[in-house]
Amino acid sequence: MFKIIEKEFLSENVARLVIEAPYIAKSRKAGHFIILRIDENGERIPLTISDANIENGTITLIVQRVGVSSHKLCSMNAGDSILDVVGPLGTATHIANVGTVLCAGGGVGVAPLFPIVQAMKLAGNRVITVIAARNKDLVILEDQMRAYSDELIIMTDDGSKGKKGLVTLGMEEVILREKINEAIVIGPAIMMKFAALTTKKYDIPTQASLNTIMVDGTGMCGACRVTVGGKTEFVCVNGPEFDAHKVNFDEMLNRLNAYKAKESKCYREYLETSEAVLN
């Protein structure tokens, strides 16, 4: 059992959870994720380790409510326990001093972006961060990002905070203004697709962190497979980060919908239960 030490909502649909997991706290690096299962009947869902505290033996997760499992997780509170947490999974982000790094995050992709922003800054890079959300209430981790960024640009779809427009607009402004040595983009697949097209135009080496469907997270099932440069890769063991210019995002978008019909139905049914209403 893995105890929840702290829990707060960062925005209406995004919660931050601090969980006791001493081994993982010690061995995790930026870019790593975990897989958890809330209870006996739960599914295994992957979540990025957003932060960790070795002394306290805790890891921080930031989770957006999108379906049954993430909803249940967001409804848990400090003192509750999660049945299974395994990790750290995936390959750590390659962190080096390359000069100027452009970090772009959309939606809940801002959460997994944070440890990378942090590590890139600590490695001595100039870090420019662009975070995007639909409106001002959905902007998360602003202060944390600002603390580790030389410049933070906030974009909202409706202009209720920062600049009005999509993440790509903010990225392009920076790219036109100064030399970018490397870019990292994390967010919904569709956002990463267009962010990758943007940096490709300017030949900027770009990493994307892929959030495919997973089961075991250890290379055993192949549910997480994507095509990168014409080759099938397992995101859980060889990723989650890949050269964004080589990822077949259209295929990935399709694969994310593999269980959509069933999941939406389950979620609708779940929302009608008292458990969901109470929370």
């Binding site: 009947n41 395994v86 089961v215 055993m220 099932c221 269980y259």
Partner: protein
């Protein structure tokens, strides 16, 4: 696979009075005239809609009848066919004498998981293939597997389920990576020697392939859990959700006092065929399909994990995994559940019994055929596959005739789900975390005759050493490694005490 038969030993043992007497109760001629028994099976058209175990077990009367067929041979060649050298005539004769718990004791001398082996061993190519009935009398071998299962089940249900004798705890910590049959066996054996054993398992449940792979209708989880419980009672600790090489490295664990390790991480990496359309939705690996169903409860209403249960399902492959997948698909409600296999039925690596059961359960077989492309609708959901017929050429390295594509024989099959079961490769996590570990070109871990890897104190066995093999071979490795680890640890203790 075959071991030397220590004929002297078995001859002397055979001379025991009670065995002598038993043999004389019936003439060999009469014994050979007894008809071979058949397993009691659930009705195929009932079982293919449920998860109840297909083989229902033997009655006492059937078990006794079969036990009398065994001739208690002077040179019991059957033993040579068993990878762990089970003392087959001895256990069968205890059974014939009516001492079933005594028979169980004999089984447990060499095999810590007889209820599992009795169910899943490919007996027809192992012990039973070496039985004198097959070798000399051109008949059907004694039903050793069925009897083994009967005795082990009886022991579980009626015995005192006492745990094996355990030596005084020696406080020496040994780590085991993986809780499949290899890991479980090593853990049980080392506990008997008095070691402080911890098994680390990456998944949230224990048992390896026995749990996530082999389905309930062939090997009920309750049986696997029973065996794991016995090992727990022997003092072995189990830690789930712990990936050695990720959650902590071997060096981390050494600093916590572990002196030796056994790697039994299995062959979990699914192979794909790399043909066009393989990443469309609806094409999954057998591991994914079976894991979603067996480990995650996919398809049952109270569980959150979704599974794609198609109406027209094709399983590509001809091994045990393919048979398990196709029979599972049928049970999930498929109207057509089809095996597409590139050779003919004769070359199928699956157990004969599984193929027979599948046929009875209305599984369709399209043999000598291979997929060459998948097609999907505008949403990327699989709706069709193109296959090509194959002819058989000269035997290849595996001794089976090589399939050769027949030009112009392509045709399409309507499908909404395809499960790929064309083999697995070794799980790469340990090797990735330890580049200095010596591996073969297939990425299996290299071991010496004591199952020790190129790194002292690090042992390995089961599928991670053999590639996809069998439960009993994994267990055999576990036993061998336990002796190897014991010798290694005792040497360390001696060195320290000087």
């Amino acid at each position: 696979m075959e071991s030397e038969l220590n004929e002297e030993y078995y001859k002397n043992e055979r001379k025991a009075d009670w065995r002598d007497k038993l043999r004389k109760e019936m003439k060999s001629k009469d014994r050979t005239n007894i008809p071979k028994i058949h397993m009691i099976e659930e009705d195929p058209l009932v079982r293919n809609k449920s998860n109840i175990e297909v083989n229902k077990g033997l009655t006492l009367a059937l078990a006794l009848q079969e036990s009398r067929r065994c001739l208690d041979c002077v040179a019991p060649t059957c033993i040579v066919g068993c990878p762990v050298g089970t003392n087959i005539p001895k256990f069968i004769k205890y059974l014939e004498a009516g001492d079933i718990l005594g028979a169980a004791k004999v089984l447990k001398e060499n095999n810590s998981l007889p209820a599992i082996c009795g169910r899943v061993c490919p007996q027809e190519i192992q012990c039973e293939a070496q039985c004198v009935y097959v070798k000399k009398l051109s008949g059907e071998g004694a039903a050793i597997g069925h009897l083994e299962r009967f005795v082990a089940d009886y022991d579980r249900e009626h015995g005192d389920n006492s745990i094996p004798a355990i030596a005084e705890p020696n406080g020496i910590k040994i780590g085991v990576v993986g809780s499949g049959p290899a890991g479980l066996t090593v853990a049980g054996e080392l506990a008997k020697f008095g070691y402080d054993v911890t098994v680390f398992e990456a998944l949230h449940d224990l048992g390896g392939v026995l749990k996530y792979g082999i389905p309930e209708f062939r090997l009920p989880n309750s049986i696997v859990d029973f065996e794991i419980n016995t090992i727990k009672q022997m003092g072995v600790k189990f830690v789930t959700n712990f990936i050695v090489g990720k959650t902590a490295t071997f060096d981390d664990l050494k600093s916590e006092g572990f002196v030796a390790f056994f790697i039994a991480s299995g062959a979990g990496l699914p192979n794909f065929m790399n043909i066009p359309g393989e990443n469309f939705n609806g094409v999954v690996s057998a591991n994914e399909f079976l894991t979603r169903v067996n480990l995650m409860g996919g398809g049952k209403t109270q569980f959150d994990t979704p599974v794609h249960a198609g109406k027209n399902v094709v399983i590509v492959g001809g091994g045990n995994t393919a048979m398990d997948s196709v029979r599972t698909a049928k049970r999930m409600g498929a109207e057509r559940a089809i095996i597409v296999y590139r050779r003919s039925q004769e070359e199928m690596p699956a157990r004969a019994e599984e193929i027979k059961h599948a046929i009875e359960e209305e599984i369709e077989f399209i043999n000598l055929t291979t997929p060459i492309e998948y097609f999907a609708d505008e949403n990327g959901n699989l709706n069709k596959m193109r296959v090509q017929k194959m002819g058989l050429g000269e035997p290849d390295a595996s001794g089976r005739r090589r399939p050769i594509p027949i030009e112009g024989s392509e045709y399409d099959i309507d499908v909404d789900s395809v499960v790929i079961a064309v083999g697995v490769s070794p799980n790469p996590i340990i090797q990735q975390s330890m580049p200095e570990l010596e591996v073969t070109k297939w990425n299996t871990i290299k071991v010496d005759e004591n199952m020790m890897t190129s790194i002292p104190g690090l042992f390995a066995g089961g599928d991670i050493v053999r590639g996809g093999a069998t439960v009993i071979l994994a267990m055999g490795d576990g036993r061998k490694a336990a002796s190897g680890i014991h010798a290694y640890a005792q040497k360390l203790v001696l060195a320290e005490s000087v």
